[in-house]
């Protein structure tokens, strides 16, 4: 850019005319970017960002899929907030769904029925939103497993692990508050259980439950409070944490699998632009497509059948969404145990509902530090491990997953009994044993398998064919043959 001598009247000598503003093609982009860059200094960051390297493996895309699910949830969720009424005031339903005609329902429930039956594309948006939520938590867990089993959480990424795990907990909380918003019979029952779990905490329980719900259950306040949590506080936290999560990732650069030119002091892969950008945006649309498919063809949460919430009425089967199912299962199979210590009652939901999840979540959240302490390895790692290279970590991860899987299945014990012809009481007893024995067995088997594979010796990397290059000390390019 240069100062133009031929200045139009009224322009100061500091005005600068872009060199080829009237050219076609790249000139126009340069013009726009130049205009922006003058005001934001954005060009250098964009240039570096375009060249940023993404290691090339499909398992690294799972985190992106989770992010895309969140975006879809925000988009469909925004649509729903335009029609949903977060109020517990009673109205009479007068819409087209005949079995509810004339029933006294909350304004929230009424608005969800209107979305489902009267708003065009309302039911589709609602179902896409709900199915995406179910899949979102699943993808986050898959991503967490990839990070865990490959040891990507090690120094310097411990903080990012904690942020990521917090995001999982927030995702579950978002789901719970979300499906409680229609104020239907099933989700209201779930809210009651959450209240009772809070109530069960010794010393602070009754106060905590009363403050959280606005009084003794049921209250008229909890719908609007869940709404504030669901559309503002929790998503706000998630957005801040996702930003931090990605910022750390950019700063620390991605980890990568061993092999080829990959080393601890480099990142080998595909540049963001154009390759990775195309793949990521394509993946976004594919994710959205799958969510639309589910939302179109599978009915989910038909609240018109459950009826409005009434704290003296219940329907069965009574399960929460699957990602809370483990908590329901823990409450179902934990034996009846309500001791009184020094006059203080320890209510029966306390241990399975608060203590056990609390302990497990803390262990998972602090795992990078726990593992570093146990193995004595607190060096920085950017190369990922293979599954069997850390038997302790892999076995412990498999055991914890097994435990949660057993609890999740136990949450559906009556439905499983009904479908497969078992006694409910038999299944409950069986799950009790499985919850203890299966994780232990899984740990032992996994540990053995990993050790066995380790003993067989490392399989050498085959030589790579093709044209991987690296920079030589004197600045040139050099092909790598290993």
């Amino acid at each position: 850019m240069s100062v133009d001598d031929r200045q139009a009247p009224g322009r100061s000598h500091l005005d600068v005319t872009p060199a080829d503003a009237t050219d076609r093609g790249p000139g126009r982009i340069r013009g726009v970017l130049g205009w922006l860059d003058e005001r934001t200094s954005v060009a250098r960051v964009v240039r570096a960002g375009m060249r940023k390297v993404f290691p090339d493996h499909w398992s690294f895309l799972l985190g992106e899929v989770a992010l895309f699910c969140f975006v879809i949830l925000v988009l469909t969720g925004t649509y729903l907030t335009l029609f949903y009424v977060p109020s517990a005031s009673e109205v009479t339903y007068q819409g087209p769904y005949a079995p509810m005609a004339g029933t006294q329902v909350s304004a929230a429930y009424d608005s969800v029925l209107r979305i489902s039956f009267e708003t065009k594309a309302g039911l589709l948006m609602r179902q896409i939103h709900h199915w995406t939520a179910l899949a979102f938590v699943g993808v986050v867990i898959l991503h967490l497993c990839r990070v865990f089993f490959t040891g990507a959480f090690r120094r310097p990424r411990e903080v990012n692990w904690i942020i990521g795990f917090t995001l999982l907990v927030l995702a579950i909380a978002l789901g719970f508050t979300g499906y409680s918003l229609p104020d239907d019979l099933l989700s209201g029952t779930g809210a009651r259980i959450a209240y009772s779990a809070a109530l069960s905490i010794p010393l602070i329980g009754p106060w905590l439950a009363s403050l959280a719900f606005g009084g003794e259950f049921p209250t008229s306040a909890f719908i609007s409070r869940f709404y504030v949590l669901h559309i503002m506080l929790l998503p706000g936290l998630v957005i801040v944490l996702i930003t931090g999560h990605i910022a750390l990732l950019v700063l620390q650069k991605h980890t990568q699998y061993r092999g080829g030119p990959a080393r601890e002091d480099n990142v080998v892969g595909r540049a963001f632009w154009p390759g990775q950008a195309f793949l990521s945006s394509g993946l976004f649309f594919l994710t959205a497509a799958i969510c639309s498919l589910l939302g179109a063809f599978f009915q989910i949460n038909p609240v018109w059948l459950f009826g409005p919430f009434d704290a003296a009425v219940v329907s069965s089967p009574a399960q929460p969404d699957w990602y809370v199912g483990w908590l329901d299962g823990a409450l179902r199979i934990f034996p009846s145990f309500e001791p009184t210590i020094l006059g203080i009652t320890i209510p029966s939901p306390f241990i399975p509902g608060i203590v056990i999840p609390g302990v497990l979540f803390t262990i998972v959240a602090l795992w990078p530090f726990i593992e570093a302490r146990i193995t004595g390895d607190d060096r920085a790692h950017h190369i990922l491990d293979r599954l069997w290279e850390h038997p302790l970590r892999t076995a412990t991860g498999v055991a914890i997953l097994t435990f949660f899987a057993v609890l999740t299945l136990a949450g559906g014990n009556d439905v499983l009994a009904f479908q497969f012809g078992f006694d409910v009481e038999f299944l409950t007893r069986l799950f009790r044993w499985l919850a203890v024995l299966l994780p232990i067995a899984a740990w032992i088997v996994t540990y053995r398998l990993c050790r066995g594979r380790l003993r067989e010796g490392d399989h050498p990397s085959p030589p790579i064919a093709g044209h991987a290059v690296a920079r030589t000390p004197d600045g040139g390019f050099e092909e790598i043959h290993e």
Partner: protein
């Protein structure tokens, strides 16, 4: 200084004949997207249908996604790039300088008393600002220990008239509230007619007749002539409907076995044995409502439940 990643050479020629074919495929896919999007618009305007709209959305998004991915995978020359990574570690000199700037220049190390007082002041302010959190809900007080039952209130169905004993069939169950006041769901009570011989064969039950003034959510008393003689009060039990485990209504009743089941976590209560939990995670029996059977066949409560209803809490026995 930041070093930019190095870039390897392109590995494919852009004039590959495969390219033409792939281009056509991607074009076709984008065409599918346009078609589906237009069709979606038409369907929406015509009134909409969930499955068709969803399918078209799936088509539009899926075709677009595949098209972009194929473009990115096959039409863009693939390069392997390598980026150097800065070593992880603490620059001690930089840290020392930072420490100097943060602490020494503000004088924190010299003015420890001031620093302590500042910390205390901030903490006190934070505590004061946290006080409004207590406006979120009332003090628990006695609310967990009481329901809306009082002595003299009759047992009635929700929004309906007081229950008449002879209208209940043996083996029947009703949900009742204080007459005229069903606003407290924690007062919901199960009234069960277990009969005079609960362990034996089922006695005959009155045949239902027709009546007017049906209540919205419960059976209406019938007035068929020739019904059985007035039942004794021992044929009935009144139990809190709120499960003592996690507070769900205990809505299931296995009438021949006289067992109540809560659907949330499968706690089972033996009605003939003081509603003692016999299975599942509940640890306390369902509280029994004291009542009296009046000569006119209605039921009157003798007071509130003797124990707190619903899930336990830490000071319920204190």
């Amino acid at each position: 200084m930041r070093r930019l990643p190095t870039e390897g050479p392109a590995r494919r020629s852009d004039t590959d004949p495969d390219d033409r074919r792939l281009e056509r495929i991607v074009l076709a896919l984008f065409g599918v997207t346009v078609a589906c999007a237009l069709a979606l618009l038409v369907v929406y305007i015509l009134g909409g249908q969930t499955q068709i709209e969803g399918l078209l959305l799936f088509g539009a998004l899926g075709a677009l996604g595949i098209g972009i991915v194929v473009w990115g995978q096959r039409l863009i020359p693939a390069r392997i790039n390598i980026e150097p990574r800065d070593p992880v570690g603490v620059d001690q000199a930089q840290m020392a300088e930072l420490e100097q700037t943060l602490i020494e220049e503000a004088g924190f190390s010299r003015r420890r008393l001031l620093v302590g007082a500042l910390a205390g002041a901030l903490a006190a302010l934070a505590a004061a600002l946290a006080i409004p959190v207590f406006s979120l809900g009332p003090a628990p007080g006695r609310s967990l220990f009481e329901t809306s039952w009082r002595a003299g209130r009759r047992l009635a169905t929700q929004g309906g008239p007081p229950v008449v004993a002879s209208d209940m069939p043996v083996g029947g169950v009703l949900t009742v509230f204080p007459d005229g006041d069903s606003s407290d769901p924690n007062a919901s009570t199960l009234l069960i007619r277990i009969g005079s011989n609960p362990g034996g064969a089922a006695a005959s039950s009155p045949s239902p007749g027709s009546s007017a003034g049906a209540s919205p959510a419960a059976p209406t008393p019938s007035s068929a002539p020739g019904t059985a003689a007035a039942p004794a009060s021992t044929e009935f039990v009144a139990l809190s409907k709120i499960c003592t485990h996690a507070g769900c209504p205990v809505g299931l009743y296995r009438s021949t076995e006289h067992v109540l089941i809560c659907p949330c976590h499968q706690s089972e209560f033996d009605v003939l044995d003081g509603a003692r939990p016999i299975n599942g995670p509940a640890a306390r029996p369902l509280p029994a409502l004291p009542f009296r059977l009046e000569p006119d066949g209605t039921f009157t409560a003798l007071g509130d439940f003797p124990e707190p209803v619903g899930p336990s809490f830490w000071d319920m026995d204190l």
